[in-house]
């Protein structure tokens, strides 16, 4: 049996019955990583020794009577999430040699649950990008077509799951960075409600938008991972003190009577026709399962991308000011302090990061603050209101995750704005702080996965997961596997 094709639930059952050990499972995963990395490049750092140690420890814990669905399960962690004692780069040369001095809260929680970290996954530098092409280290390839991008910024997390290099991963999502790569790679990924999961120990990109979330090859796997990492953290002032439900417990409750809204603004010109077709078919399936579907409107959708890029870049320009070559990270030595700052940052940051820092600095600068930053914050309120209005009569909103399937490597790198527009369906959800999931709903003629997005009210991850599960179980997309390497 190829252990790398197991879902988290399947692996957990075998482990619980002592039919396999975590060492066996982790070794199988390590073998798979070794044989596939040359093609996919999902990982910046593979932590084989640590993984085997942890697998051993998990087996020992089980022997002492401990249980838990994640005990001994191999997972990957996006390289913007700090893992103590292990190199954490955020995909950037400026942190190329940075050894994290502490664990992120989400890392701690996974460790407590007994999960086994196999490596740090590749991402766009500082999580800025939609294709992982902005990584300072390597290009990750989409396992479905190695000439195409895995999406971004959590491209490595998505490709690792799709290529069966581990059973689940953690990614982060600021403008779609979990959902869009999940769609590109045919896996499931969920961005929780803002405040549901702690950001402590997660390299900050845009503080009011960032969230950590799980990716796995099925909805249940995501549910288990989310349950492990969610919950209040006193070290994160923006984390919410609300109890964490057992997300996996009510997945199969069905969606009879669930009111589903389809926003007309999300079916635009320029969309790939196959994407539209697959999503509309998915909506029909939901209807057959008992959902009540209606058309709704999110009138300010068109303003989401500029709003996001003003706010996110502004916050990013400030969050990245700490990379100055003094306390940690790369330093370009120079005679004067000023030159040291300028050269360190010019050398350490890639061009997309520099561009966003410049943009963010500009929109906050004297004379421009009102017209850009303040304005964008107000438009953000309008976008939130749009969703609040729709959720008065709908329980979930369903849309395509991205306007196209995975594009070719290099296709959008010459025009930054083009790249930004590929986030058009995911970005509003971050602005409004809502929970959103992406799961596969078909494949295009080239065999590339198409993603379906389901969005819910704040803190209603259960509803979102339930709807996703119902759709998933009524279809076979999640059973299709990558082949060829």
């Amino acid at each position: 049996m190829d252990l790398t094709t197991l879902t988290i639930d399947e692996a957990a059952a075998l482990l619980a019955r002592r039919q396999i050990s975590s060492i066996e499972l982790t070794s199988a995963v390590m073998d798979r990583i070794r044989s596939s990395e040359a093609w996919v490049h999902s990982f910046i750092t593979v932590t084989e020794e640590v993984a085997l140690e942890r697998a051993r420890a998990a087996d020992e814990r089980r022997a002492r009577g401990e249980a838990g669905v994640l005990l001994g399960i191999p997972v990957g962690i996006k390289d913007v999430i700090l893992t103590k004692g292990i190199r954490t780069t955020a995909g950037s040369k400026i942190l190329g040699q940075f050894i994290a001095p502490y664990n992120a809260t989400v890392t701690e929680r996974l460790l407590q649950a007994g999960a086994v970290c196999v490596g740090k996954t590749n991402c766009d530098e500082f999580a800025m990008g939609s294709s992982t092409e902005n990584s300072g280290f390597m290009i990750t390839r989409n396992p479905w077509d190695l000439e195409r991008v895995p999406g971004g910024s959590s491209g490595g997390s998505a490709s690792a799951v799709a290529a069966r290099q581990c059973l689940g991963t953690l990614g982060t999502d600021t403008g779609g960075s979990i959902r869009q790569p999940a769609a590109c790679c045919g896996v499931v990924g969920i961005k929780p409600t803002y405040g549901r999961v702690s950001r402590y120990g997660v390299v900050a990109y845009a503080s009011s938008l960032d969230q950590v979330g799980p990716m796995a090859n099925n909805v249940a796997g995501c549910a288990h991972l989310l349950a492990a990492i969610a919950g209040h953290d006193p070290r994160d002032s923006t984390s919410v003190n609300r109890c964490v439900p057992d997300y996996a417990a009510q997945l199969d409750a069905g969606i009879k009577g669930l009111r589903v809204g389809i926003p007309r603004e999300y079916f635009v010109e320029g969309m790939q026709p196959e994407v539209e077709k697959a999503v509309r078919a998915a909506v029909s399936t939901l209807e057959k399962l008992g959902a009540q579907v209606s058309e709704v409107s999110l009138p300010h959708t068109d303003y989401a991308v500029p709003t996001y890029y003003v706010i996110a870049t502004a916050e990013a320009s400030s969050n990245l000011a700490r990379y100055d070559g003094i306390k940690y990270g790369l330093r370009q030595d120079a005679e004067s302090l000023l030159t040291m700052y300028q050269r360190t940052r010019a050398t350490g940051f890639g061009s997309e990061v520099k561009r966003r820092i410049m943009l963010g600095t500009y929109v906050l600068s004297a004379g421009y603050y009102d017209a850009y930053y303040l304005k964008a914050q107000k438009v953000r309120t309008l976008i939130r209101r749009d969703f609040a209005d729709v959720f008065a009569t709908q329980d979930v909103i369903v849309t395509p995750t991205a306007p196209t399937t995975a594009f070719r490597i290099g296709e959008k790198t010459s025009d930054p704005l083009q790249m930004y527009l590929s986030d058009i369906f995911t970005i509003s959800i971050n602005l409004a702080g809502l929970p959103g999931i992406s799961l596969p709903c078909g494949f295009d003629a080239q065999g590339l996965p198409i993603g379906l997005q389901i969005v819910g009210r704040p803190f209603e991850e259960e509803t979102v997961l339930r709807a996703a599960y119902a759709y998933e179980q009524a279809t076979e997309w999640h059973e299709r596997r990558v082949s060829g390497f």
């Binding site: 040699q97 050894i99 303003y303 500029p306 790369l330 410049m358 600068s365 017209a371 953000r380 309120t381």
Partner: protein, 95 residues
């Protein structure tokens, strides 16, 4: 209102980024393009709209005034590019 090279240079200084001729020219073009796209927002009437600074509907959480951190471990300084004992070292700061 095209973005001028002067403004870009000034922003680069504020952001402590050393841009060479080429980069400066490219960034000026790209930023100009993007900023023009941002102009879209100006069309919206936001006269009486309160800005969103936080999406969480809560007010500030607190810590009690207790010292919890023991003397800082070496790990916190071990990533420093330049040190002098326990100090972080930088090129001379001139007042």
């Amino acid at each position: 209102m095209a973005l001028s090279r002067e403004v870009v240079r000034h922003i680069a200084v504020l952001a402590r980024l050393d841009l060479d001729e080429q980069e400066e020219a490219a960034i000026t073009d790209q930023l100009d393009h993007i900023l023009q796209y941002f102009e879209k927002l100006a069309a919206l009437d936001t006269e009486n709209v309160t800005p969103t600074a936080h999406v969480v509907e809560m007010t500030e959480a607190f810590r009690e005034d207790v010292v919890l951190n023991p003397a800082a471990p070496e790990e916190l300084r071990s990533n420093a590019p330049a040190r002098d004992g326990d100090f972080f070292k930088v090129p001379k700061i001139i007042e």
